[in-house]
Symmetry: C2
Subunit: 174 residues, 2 copies
């Protein structure tokens, strides 16, 4: 898809020009709002206007109306990888026909439930298996994968610490 | 909702009994599969069987058919917080009527595009604003919030490093 590659390379160039003219343009603010609407069901609306549900599986008290938070976390990572392959293929001029990403995460539930305070509540290990299809030599896709891993936003969130500030407001109800 | 609290507390107790009998039960494996099906659109299917789309906004070459990876990452965090409030309220015997969570993340796009290799690609800062409603004194919800932050799986993924192993397979296409 040479026209797609050209289009995305043009987006990158235009973004660079815009940021050079006004550095504030480089700041992107993302937002998500959540309401607990069932025993464990959460209604989500994100800043771009899209809405979706989150729920727990039935085995641990949920209704299974949608994917669970751990699955959304893995999907954020896998989809970010796939899209970053697309953008960096355009930036590096590497032809790319297909991208398939499988992400697996291992979690020890003793952390979530507090049965063992020495067990972390999140993933102890994550595996990302990427399969790309295209006409270039394998070395070029290895080069692409290194560029993707250095610039993929959600991979950075997993691999490195993100400062999170949490505030609480309690409203008394009858 | 005293019966819901009792139900979830029973789930916790049953899980503890099951893990005590067979420690292997504490392992949970999560999975998400992703295909790049458009310029930046990704089709996702997760291990629980649910499927959904991910896309980039139109401003940077996407089709905006669904939320973007950064929004799903924030939604994973916000929904995990909300659900963890529910479970830990049951564990601690704290009445809880409502939970609303707003999550904001700041991202500098120079990291993703590689315009400045000193800028991280992921979120530089995340803010989680929780509002709970219920009949208990404010101190009990502060106690609940501390328990949630110590046991919320996706908050752990954000705040701490997760080991991620990435593999690549390149398939030659005509």
């Amino acid at each position: 898809m040479p026209s797609l590659q050209t289009d995305l390379a043009a987006v990158v160039t235009a973004t660079r020009v815009a940021i050079t003219a006004d550095p504030k343009v480089s700041h992107a603010g993302f937002r998500a709002e959540h309401s607990l609407v069932g025993p464990t069901e959460v209604a989500v609306r994100v800043g771009s206007g899209h809405a979706f549900a989150v729920d727990q599986p039935k085995g641990i008290g949920g209704g299974d109306v949608a994917a669970c938070p751990a699955e959304y976390a893995l999907a954020a990572l896998g989809s970010c990888q796939a899209i970053t392959y697309r953008f960096w293929a355009a930036q590096l001029g590497i032809a790319l026909d297909t991208v398939e990403v499988t992400v697996e995460g291992d979690l020890d539930v003793r952390g979530f439930f507090g049965f063992d305070e020495g067990v972390r509540p999140g993933f102890g290990a994550v595996r990302v298996a990427v399969e790309v299809g295209g006409p270039e030599p394998a070395e070029r896709y290895e080069e692409l994968a290194r560029a993707v891993d250095a610039h993929c936003p959600v991979l950075d969130i997993f691999r490195n610490k993100v400062p999170v500030h949490r505030s609480l407001k309690a409203v008394e109800t009858a």
